[in-house]
Symmetry: C2
Subunit: 486 residues, 2 copies
């Protein structure tokens, strides 16, 4: 029975980006809806993509001195209620366990939307002296936030993430940590996901409930919208004061430690999909792709199959342990009930960076054909050279993908000096718009209500460029980044 009838067609990106996204996620078998409202099932291919991303980030979190730990899924209501802004921000989204073990509970338990509250309540017993600081922790877990409108990976009721939580003896150290971890997120996006991001500070209205300041990285998707891809919060003494955490400092004074928290979630998988994908499906960065190379053997007669299999096995063994010790993640598609053409589409949809085609004539000529997913560039390469060449080609591909995304972002970043121009760009062209803002919440709010754009970040590296606020003409020293966002 042929499976050709399952050849998938996906909505074109240019036609309906949102439908394209859902098609890709479901048809490339990354994830699917589940029987639970707003929750998703992450399928093997999607989970492998998440695992590679997670492992890269986990390595960087450990390198910067943090230890992984685990805290409970549940937070008693009285604990969540301690920090006023925090509870106000999260309460509307909380799921509550009210019954367990056949009885009604004395106190409802929140399913954690984030763990600041329970961590603050726990570390009170661990922090006594400046010698106990800094306390640098990270958690990989699941959290629940009751969302009205959900989208696979981008916004789901339950999601997987890491949340870092640190405590410091000085405010300066906490501020440095907030910066350091934002930069770890930037590096993850740059070096692993091939996504250029803009780093900066959130405005008061966009910051984390309970934070003093929130930093974020913002990426541009291929529909030119912004996606917040990771946040890092300076919590000041907000939670430690609410919990009464104190330490005896070198100067013999009792103080509340300064805290930070920072998180990056499965949402980043959505960013990877939308930053690189095209009309044929996913375009994955090699460093996190579940398969970096797919081999499609081509044969008709049994004797050809045997010859091709010999060549494939040789290439395979070499790729799985390359001269420099880096294993390439390779899959060979030996299915005999679908055509090579079907297989090409199958793996293009799944975004595998390089395809190696090997047929009997290739074997005879001692070569294979290597095709790049992103631009379909096709080249013959000697079989014997593949083990050394493929890792280099993957690195080049990774760099090309980043360059392509950076060019796209540059081409779709505009400056606007008056509100009419601003509205026209946001509404007609989309993308990032750099414009002046006086700092008043009222101006920010009006722009959002009238255009749907928000201030994504006040960028760190914006050049001095004084001007007048789009709305009230108030003075501004440099431009902030506006965009419509996910």
């Amino acid at each position: 029975m042929s499976q050709e009838r399952f050849v998938t067609s996906i909505t074109r990106q240019s036609e309906d980006f949102s439908a394209w996204y859902t098609d890709v996620v479901r048809k490339a078998e990354l994830a699917d809806y589940s029987p639970v409202r707003g929750c998703m099932v992450i399928r093997p291919y999607g989970y492998a993509l998440w695992e590679h991303t997670r492992d890269a980030l986990d390595g960087m979190i450990k390198e910067t001195g943090h230890s992984n730990v685990y805290f409970p899924l549940f937070i008693p209501k009285s604990l969540l209620d301690k920090e006023a802004e925090h509870v106000e921000g999260f309460n509307p989204q909380v799921a509550w366990v009210t019954h367990a073990g056949g009885k009604e509970l004395d106190e409802p338990l929140a399913v954690r939307p984030t763990s600041e509250a329970i961590i603050a309540a726990t570390v009170r017993d661990w922090i006594h002296s400046y010698r106990d600081l800094p306390l640098l922790m990270n958690l990989w877990n699941n959290v629940v936030r009751w969302e009205m409108r959900t989208r696979l990976f981008l916004r789901t009721t339950e999601f997987l993430w890491q949340e870092g939580h640190t405590f410091h003896a000085t405010e300066q150290e906490a501020l440095e940590e907030t910066d350091r971890m934002l930069d770890v997120y930037r590096r993850l996006c740059d070096e692993w996901l091939a996504i250029p991001v803009t780093s900066g500070r959130k405005t008061e209205s966009e910051k984390f409930p309970g934070a003093v300041t929130t930093l974020a990285i913002e990426a541009m998707m291929r529909d030119r919208r912004a996606l917040q891809s990771g946040t890092s919060h300076h919590l000041g003494q907000n939670f430690t004061r609410a919990e009464g955490i104190e330490f005896l400092d070198r100067d013999n004074l009792r103080k509340n430690p300064w805290g930070t928290s920072w998180g990056l979630s499965t949402r980043i998988v959505g960013a990877t999909i939308m930053a690189h994908g095209d009309d044929d499906g996913l375009v994955l960065p090699p460093r996190v792709a579940p398969y970096q190379v797919v081999v499609v053997p081509i044969w008709r007669r049994e004797e050809d199959r045997v010859a091709v299999a010999g060549a494939v096995e040789t290439v395979l063994a070499a790729l799985r342990s390359t001269p420099d010790g880096r294993a390439v993640r390779v899959h060979v598609d030996w299915r005999d009930d679908v055509s090579p053409g079907f297989k090409y589409s199958h793996w293009e949809l799944r975004g595998v960076p390089l395809r190696i085609e090997i047929g009997p004539r290739d074997v005879a000529a001692g070569q294979a054909v290597v095709v790049r997913r992103v631009d379909r560039v096709k080249e013959a390469a000697p079989l014997a050279a593949l083990p050394a060449e493929i890792p280099a080609r993957l690195e080049r591909y990774q760099a090309d993908l980043f360059e392509r995304a950076a060019r796209f972002r540059a081409a779709n970043t505009h400056a606007a000096d008056d509100y009419d121009t601003f509205r026209r760009v946001i509404e007609e062209e989309g993308g990032f718009v750099m414009a002046h803002w006086c700092g008043a919440a009222a101006c920010e709010k009006r722009i959002n209500e009238e255009t749907g754009a928000t201030i994504r970040v006040i960028p760190f590296d914006a050049p001095a460029d004084p001007g007048r606020c789009l709305i009230d003409g108030g003075a501004a020293t440099d431009r902030v980044l506006f965009a419509r966002a996910y």
Copy 2:
């Protein structure tokens, strides 16, 4: 300020095993109680131990062809209710979310106690033909079972685990999978945790709610009690029939697939602690120990410190990249406010397999002193030889730990041919008792009620050894394993 006042004393194992266990877990900073009833906080040292165990198991699960996936935390009540035995077994332990997003839910959501029900409901859409089988999945997640009496790692309301779920076209394949994964657990215990286990089948009264048969591995703790360390279930068609999952087989008949599930949890950390620990604290198997080696530099004068530091740095660099490419996990304890003796106790409590002491006289002699945690055997070794020797010593240590546990188990496994002897052994000596049982639930129940012992498993490899049931004298072909258990 000296930290010597924090020198920890723990209850002696022989005095009160249970108090010893809690002392070790808390004072070695593996885990602690949390503000949430029955839930624990896993601290950095405990989480690192879990990570090494988890990564080893994850590798074996992938090698045997399984893919990691994720399914939702919540299970709608109607789904959990579909398989009768399953719901009856788990309902008393379920925690229910009844309110979320500021409203009462139309249908309560169970916080997953295990995921058979939601997985069966989801894969119905994925399985159509025998070509879609086998479906081999694994999940790393958290589950909640409302427990009355909890103990850190051993029995907590929330715990971390992996749950494997597979679907097969034939019963034979499902049975083979059930065996294969039990054997993966046995290998994890043997090769990584240095714990010898007994593999076998559970009796009807001890099997998983919803399973046709449950297999388990049982380990002996140092108080001679048994600890069930992993289970593998043949689910038959119980869940697939309840969910109406069907596939079209090669013979053109529509059938329900056969299922398996298998799980291993953070409980295994408790097993590692209790299988090897002694009066001074943890004794960790090198392959999963957070630190395999601790270096304690010894100095009084600054010039000595400099000389010692030079030697330590050389050893450290070599150990972190040994000739055969295996990095040793080393920690150097440079604290200057506690004595070497304090450090010895500190790391003995934490079970680090090897301690390297280096003082100025050692440096002058070009040597270091290496001390084994388990038996305190102390040996001088040339500094230059350490990089090559330490990995070999760690391997020998790992093997010694397994041998020691195997000898302990052998010395504490008894045969009993009549009920009086059986009761005396269980009550006075403890350990495993091999005895005859006719297979009747009534006999099993009476033994349990009168002695506290349960049938841990009907071992796979028991030699034919016919005899008469301890209780009713009924015929039995071989012996089963009785013990008091955690």
